[in-house]
Amino acid sequence: MTLAQSINGWLRRVPAWTLYVVFALWGGWYFYLALTRSTGIWTNQVQGLEHVVGLLALKILIAILAITPIRTYTGINLVKFRRALGVSAFFLVLYHFLVWWFLDVQTLGRVVADIIKRPYITIGMGALVLLLPLAVTSNNLSIRKLGPLAWRRLHWLTYPAVLLAAVHFVWLRKGWQLEPLTYLAIIVALLLLRVKWRRLALALPGLSRG
């Protein structure tokens, strides 16, 4: 048995729902830190919480994009975790948004004003809105109703959502900073890995025919 096969065998025994438990505890732990810490990033507890939750959500979104390439290049199959990862990411983004609303800007007037006026907020909001239909339809009933093709097509929204999230991160930092640009680069690379093969192969003969 190859290493990938034994890993897959082991993964088969891990139910996907454990991810909900993990990320719920993770998010709760962050809240606990924000309540009890007061140095370093926690000197500004609200911003600290906003940051760690946003970053965790972004990392999960990246993990989701990595699942297919990981299977292609290593044979390790994580596909069964994809939906739980997606729903977890959505709830973390929602958490991020609610922290921003209720603990950071605090009033509805400021929420609306900031969504309209501040490009990085507008972009983050765009990402949240794109993820919303995915979260709502992430149940077996919806998959059956939509049919697998429409469901899968709907989930292409993941790609613009993750891109917007990365741009949000780049934009909210002052100047061009290495950390958010690195995230953006990883995301673009993962997206290119998917686009290239099938699409280009299909498009190019089309071009030469036309």
Binding site: G40, N44, Q45, K117, P119, Y120, K174, Q177, L178, E179
Partner: protein, 306 residues
């Protein structure tokens, strides 16, 4: 919980010492530095009527949450990385339209300039704020000492460039050296100080040791740290953030709740130290120093000169 600040209280009563210990051990290691250095012990200073009676933030808050990109872009980076900067010996070049130009040793520069404690509100452009008990001297007194010439209209200051000691300078996040500037009348204003201490002791590196500017009615990025050059010039200098993005950052950068920044609403702020559920507070015009400084800008359109 913070204690309400009382004038008769000694800072050593309330200052957590752990943060200082490391530094003192470092200093003790370099015995020569101790022997030659100026007063490494508690600073000698007077209090000032210009101080606010608001409660200062804790030393821990002031020294672990910093924007000082020379040591990294995260707020916790300066506290982690700034210890590598050697601040003794330190010299400051006074240049341009002055009577006594030259490179001064810090102690020499400071002789005859009385140290005062100035407890000021500090408002970051990122819409958070603190109250900080600086120790420093008035920049105006230094300028009198070196003598400004009639053509001098502005001041231009530079932060030290030492990539080998300042890890953030090894990448080009900003165009080093960090540059800031003031109009001469702003620099001469009694509220404007060069700070060399904090909570009664030498300035920690992450706060801009050994000498930094503090202009309490302007956004924090104007208060340039670890200054090595002060130049008097005729033309308005271009400060670092203005050079990066002139639409977002101007030369004046006065705290102004009515002039919005594209990234952060400036109408309100988060006072550090209130915990997770603290309400935002309204930002005051000129950070609450309007009575003293508004007249500097009479007749100017502050929405254009932001």
């Amino acid at each position: 919980m913070r204690q309400p600040w009382k004038n008769d209280m000694n800072w050593s009563d309330v200052t957590p010492k752990a943060a200082w210990l490391n530094r003192r051990q470092l200093i003790a290691g370099g015995a020569a530095a101790v022997a030659a250095g100026p007063a490494w012990a508690k600073l000698d200073y007077k209090t000032s009527a210009l101080s606010t009676d608001e409660t200062p933030n804790t030393l821990e808050e002031i020294t672990t949450y910093n924007n000082y990109y020379e040591f990294g872009t995260r707020k916790s980076d300066p506290a982690a990385n700034a210890h590598t900067l050697k601040t003794d010996p330190w010299s400051v070049e006074i240049a341009g339209l002055v009577d006594k130009p030259g490179t001064y040793d810090l102690a020499e520069l400071m002789t005859g300039l009385p140290l005062e404690e100035r407890i000021y509100r500090f408002r970051c452009v990122e819409a958070w704020s603190m109250v900080i008990p600086w120790i420093g001297f008035e920049l105006g007194k230094l300028l009198e000492k070196v003598g400004t010439q009639p053509g001098a209209k502005f001041l231009r200051m530079e932060t030290v460039v030492r990539p080998e000691e300042m890890v953030g300078q090894r990448s080009r996040i900003l165009d080093w050296p960090y540059v800031e500037g003031l109009r001469l009348d702003e620099a001469m204003h009694p509220l404007t100080i060069m700070a060399t201490g904090l909570y009664g002791e030498e300035l920690p590196n992450q706060n801009g040791a050994p000498i930094r500017l503090v202009v309490p009615w302007k956004y924090g990025f104007k208060s340039i740290k670890s200054v090595v050059k002060i130049e008097l010039v005729a033309e308005q200098p271009v400060n670092t953030w203005q050079a990066i993005n002139a639409r977002e950052y101007g030369f004046y950068s006065n705290v102004n709740p009515e002039v919005d920044h594209p990234r952060w609403s400036q109408a309100s702020e988060r006072r550090i130290g209130g915990g997770l559920f603290a309400k935002r507070i309204d930002t005051q015009m000129f950070n609450g120093y309007g009575d003293q400084v508004a007249s500097l800008y009479d007749g100017m359109d502050l929405t254009k000169n932001y």
